[in-house]
Assembly symmetry: C2
DNA sequence: TTCCTTTTGTTGAAAATTCAACATATATTC
DNA sequence: GAATATATGTTGAATTTTCAACAAAAGGAA
């Protein structure tokens, strides 16, 4: 477990908890780690939402697939980040999303009841973790607002430019790589892939952006 | 303040707090109430996010207006419900949304710092409120998932039917009224109003639903 | 390298959305 | 009740998206 300390210390759930306490806390929480290959399902839509996940390395996508098989990508989670915490905290019966490994990754899973309710040892960190979860959920809400702001645009072009604008702001630079391939980007923006490719070509011809695979540059 | 006790007791923020303690707590929090006429702005996009709001009566809309003036409605908040709590908890610099009175309403506003951080009296309810906020934010996240599930559909028809399906589930009945007029429903579904009206007509002719103003019935 | 798979780009036709303009219906005000 | 304002429904044209099919490029495996 120790090799993940650096990642775990940056995890919002453990903010304000000192390294010396972390190992005991993880034990108390019954934390376990699992490895997943690319494209493997970490948590399955429709199943009970028992676990809060933490990405230790690699990355994962939060996806929703509708009745007709259309995939919608809600977000990407990267090392140190939590996922499925909202469903665990809201104690929903069944997960409304699946979590899929975006690349080979290691994941820590914690039974959410061990976080939300005091353990037998009544360890002192529950209050801190509740506060941390509250902060994290508030942050996640902002990301949803952002996604809605992007996808509420009516055209592929506007959606793409809004998305790239947010990425540029986040990276603090006009050039960056995105963690989506074309199909995934389309599924995040909720548009057609071929239409997205065509729009990228058009924007390139107009000198508005440059793009090579998942590298983008706003001009 | 006493006349709002019934509403406040149902407010997620005060769950688990007894009526006898509520008045003192509200005083401790420096809660104030304000009245707003229909269409008045309760909180303004771009301004600091100092306050958590509670709807006492009436209702309000959470809206976002983009560069071109296109309105997007994120959600509607009704009596007992919180709003702007995510921005307060995440301590963002400026609000990414406006909150608009949907009808004449009374609103309680609480400086979020009084909730998040212990007061001079160190009253015992902060922990409970933090827990309550965590639960509330988790619930709100589910609503965002729902909105994204609805608006990620590619056609006006599918968006409308997905929305009505969720409403029917929520109401536990196939007939219900929605708290949107046509333009607002269009702005929630992220579609064109006239196209929405046309789609409703079509669905009516096909015998799939009945609709009179904001009353809908799924057949 | 070569073969094979996957990803990305391109195109045209079909379908759907948006937009503008107007008709009709419903509320509101005096 | 009449007049006015607001909301909703209808239509056709322009634009855009989606869909399907294929071409081209990139990546991986042998």
């Amino acid at each position: 477990m120790k090799k993940y300390f650096e990642i775990l210390q940056k995890c919002p759930l453990f903010e304000g908890i000192e390294e010396k306490d972390l190992l005991a806390l993880l034990h108390c929480l019954g934390a376990k780690t699992e490895k997943f290959d690319k494209k493997y399902t970490i948590l399955t839509e429709g199943k009970p939402s028992k676990y809060i996940g933490i990405v230790l390395n690699g990355s994962a996508q939060i996806v929703q697939v509708d009745y007709y098989g259309n995939r919608s990508i809600l977000s990407v989670v990267e090392p140190s980040q939590l996922f499925a915490e909202a469903f665990a905290c809201a104690e929903v019966q069944s997960l409304p999303v699946s979590v899929i490994a975006n690349e080979p990754c290691e994941i820590m899973l914690i039974d959410s009841r061990r976080i939300l309710y005091s353990c037998a040892n009544n360890c002192a960190f529950h209050q801190q973790m509740i506060f941390n979860l509250m902060k994290d959920l508030a942050q996640k809400t902002l990301l949803f607002h952002q996604k809605i702001e992007i996808t509420s645009k009516r055209s592929t072009r506007e959606k793409l430019l809004a998305y790239l604008g947010f990425q540029a702001k986040k990276e603090g630079a006009n050039s960056f790589t995105v963690s989506f391939d074309r199909q995934e980007l389309a599924d995040y923006l909720e548009v057609d892939r071929s239409g997205l490719s065509a729009e990228i070509s058009k924007l390139r011809k107009e000198g508005i952006l440059d793009c090579r695979k998942n590298y983008f540059e706003l001009l």
